[in-house]
C-alpha cells in the first residue's frame, strides 16, 4: 500500500488549483500573533503551572521564538496575508485563482491510473508542502518531512464502492453539457428570444433532472417567462426557486426581474 503522489507534487495540477493549495500549505500565524497568544495563554495558566523557561508570566518569548512563529524572518513574512501574497502577485483576482481548475483536476482524477501521475522533476524546485515541512515545521515532528514521491497510483477503490475516477469523469461530462445548455439559453434570452430560451431550458431540465446548474437554469427560466409576459408563471417559478434556495446568490436578480 503506497501513498499517492501529492497534488502539489503533481505536474498535472493546474496553476489555479496549485495557487489555492499552495496558500494553504504556507499558512502560518501572522507576524506578532504567536507572541500575543503566548501572553494570553500565560495569563490564563492555572496557578500551579507557571510558564517555564525562567520568565515571568506573560514574559517575552523574544529570542527563543523560532522564525516563522512570530516576527517576520528576513522578509519571509510568516503571516497569513504575507504567506498568501507570496504565492501570487499582489492584487490577484480570485477568478484567476480558479483558472484552469477543472482541466488540471480532471486529469488527476479521470482514470486514476499511475499513468496520470508524474513525479516531480528530479532536482527541480521542491513543492510547496515540502518547503513548508522542511522550513516551518519544528523538530518536534521527526520523520514527517516529505520526500519527493515516486510515481505512484491512487489506492484502489474500496470494495463495493464505485471508483471516484469514473464518477467524476461522468459528472464532468454532464456538467459541461449542462453548462453549454445554460449558456445557449442565456444567449438567446439576451438576444430577445424568450420562447427559444424557455425551450432550451425545458429541454435541459428533461436532460439533466438532477443537474448541478438547476439553480442557474431556474433563474433564467424566471427571466424568460418575464420576457414573455407570463408573469404569474414567472412568480411561481421564482417562489419555487427561492423556496429551494433561500440564500441563492441569484435571489436579488430574480426579485429584480419580477419588478
Amino acid at each position: 500500500m503506497t501513498d499517492p503522489i501529492r497534488l502539489l507534487d503533481s505536474s498535472s495540477l493546474d496553476e489555479g488549483a496549485r495557487r489555492v493549495l499552495d496558500a494553504g500549505a504556507r499558512l502560518a500565524p501572522p507576524p506578532g500573533a504567536a507572541e500575543e497568544l503566548w501572553h494570553a495563554i500565560a495569563a490564563a495558566l492555572p496557578p500551579g503551572l507557571p510558564p517555564a523557561g525562567g520568565g515571568p508570566a506573560g514574559g517575552d518569548l523574544g529570542p527563543a521564538l523560532p522564525p516563522g512563529a512570530a516576527a517576520p524572518a528576513g522578509g519571509g513574512g510568516a503571516g497569513l496575508a504575507t504567506g498568501a501574497g507570496a504565492a501570487l502577485s499582489a492584487g490577484a483576482l480570485v477568478k484567476t485563482a480558479l483558472v484552469g481548475f477543472s482541466i488540471g483536476l480532471g486529469v488527476l482524477f479521470v482514470g486514476g491510473t499511475s499513468a496520470r501521475f508524474v513525479a516531480a522533476p528530479a532536482g527541480g524546485a521542491p513543492a510547496a508542502a515540502t518547503r513548508l515541512a522542511a522550513s516551518a515545521v519544528p523538530a518536534a515532528i521527526p520523520g514527517t518531512a516529505p520526500s519527493p514521491r515516486e510515481e505512484a497510483p491512487l489506492p484502489a477503490a474500496a470494495p463495493g464502492r464505485e471508483a471516484p475516477s469514473v464518477t467524476v469523469a461522468l459528472a464532468e461530462d454532464a456538467l459541461s453539457a449542462e453548462a453549454r445548455r445554460v449558456a445557449e439559453a442565456r444567449a438567446v434570452l439576451h438576444a430577445g428570444d424568450g420562447a427559444a430560451a424557455l425551450a432550451v431550458l425545458r429541454a435541459a431540465a428533461r436532460e439533466f433532472p438532477a443537474g448541478e446548474l438547476a439553480e442557474e437554469r431556474a433563474v433564467l427560466e424566471v427571466e424568460a417567462l418575464v420576457a414573455l409576459g407570463r408573469r404569474s408563471e414567472a412568480e411561481a417559478a421564482a417562489t419555487t426557486l427561492l423556496g429551494r434556495h433561500p440564500r441563492s446568490p441569484h435571489a436579488a436578480r430574480v426579485r429584480e426581474a419580477l419588478r
Binding site: R6, G24, L37, A52, A97, L105, G106, P155, R247
Partner: protein, 171 residues
C-alpha cells in the same frame, strides 16, 4: 518538556492545523489558546506514547470539531455559495486563495478534511496520518480519495457557475 518549550515548538503547527480544520482566521487565536491550555493542563498525562504533534493535533481536532458543531446550526451561507460569491467582486486581496480553499474544504466532513490537509498540505505520509488519527491505513487512503474527488468536483462546479454568471474564470 516545559509549557514554553512546547508552545515554541508547536505554535505554528497548531495554528495552521486549526485553520486547515476550518477555524476561521479571526477565531484561530482563541482556539489555539484553548488547545494549549488543554495541553498544559494535561501534560502530566502525556506519557510519550505518541509524538507531541500527534497529541496536539488530536486536541486541535476536538476543538475544531466542537467549534464546527456549534457553528453548523448558525451557518448562514452554504460554503459553495460563499465560494461563488467570492467570484463576484471585480478584485480581491491576497487572501483570495485561502478563502477559496476554505470554501472548497468546508463541504468535507472533518475526518476527510483532516486527512486531505495533513497529506496534501502538511506533508504527512499515509501511515503517519493513520497513527495520528488512530484509524487503519486503508481508511486514510479511502478518505483521501473521497476528499480529492470532492475537492475536484466542487472546484469544477464553482468554476462552471462563475462562467455562467459571465465571469472570466476559465482560461
Amino acid at each position: 518538556m516545559d509549557p514554553r518549550e512546547l508552545y515554541l515548538e508547536n505554535v505554528d503547527f497548531v495554528w495552521r492545523s486549526l485553520r486547515r480544520l476550518g477555524v476561521p482566521e479571526p477565531d484561530v487565536a482563541d482556539s489555539a489558546q484553548e488547545v494549549f491550555l488543554v495541553a498544559f493542563r494535561r501534560m502530566d498525562q502525556f506519557e510519550g506514547r505518541a509524538r507531541w504533534t500527534t497529541w496536539l493535533f488530536r486536541i486541535c481536532f476536538r476543538v475544531a470539531s466542537e467549534r464546527r458543531r456549534r457553528a453548523h446550526v448558525r451557518r448562514e451561507i452554504p460554503c459553495e455559495q460563499a465560494a461563488l460569491e467570492l467570484l463576484l467582486p471585480p478584485t480581491r486581496d491576497e487572501h483570495a486563495e485561502l478563502e477559496v480553499l476554505d470554501a472548497l474544504l468546508d463541504a468535507m466532513d472533518l475526518e476527510q478534511r483532516a486527512v486531505f490537509t495533513l497529506f496534501e498540505l502538511e506533508g504527512f505520509t499515509g501511515p503517519e496520518i493513520a497513527e495520528l488519527l488512530d484509524v487503519p491505513l486503508p481508511t486514510v487512503y479511502s478518505r483521501l480519495r473521497l476528499a480529492r474527488a470532492d475537492f475536484a468536483a466542487r472546484a469544477r462546479r464553482i468554476r462552471a457557475r462563475g462562467a455562467h454568471l459571465g465571469l472570466e474564470v476559465g482560461s
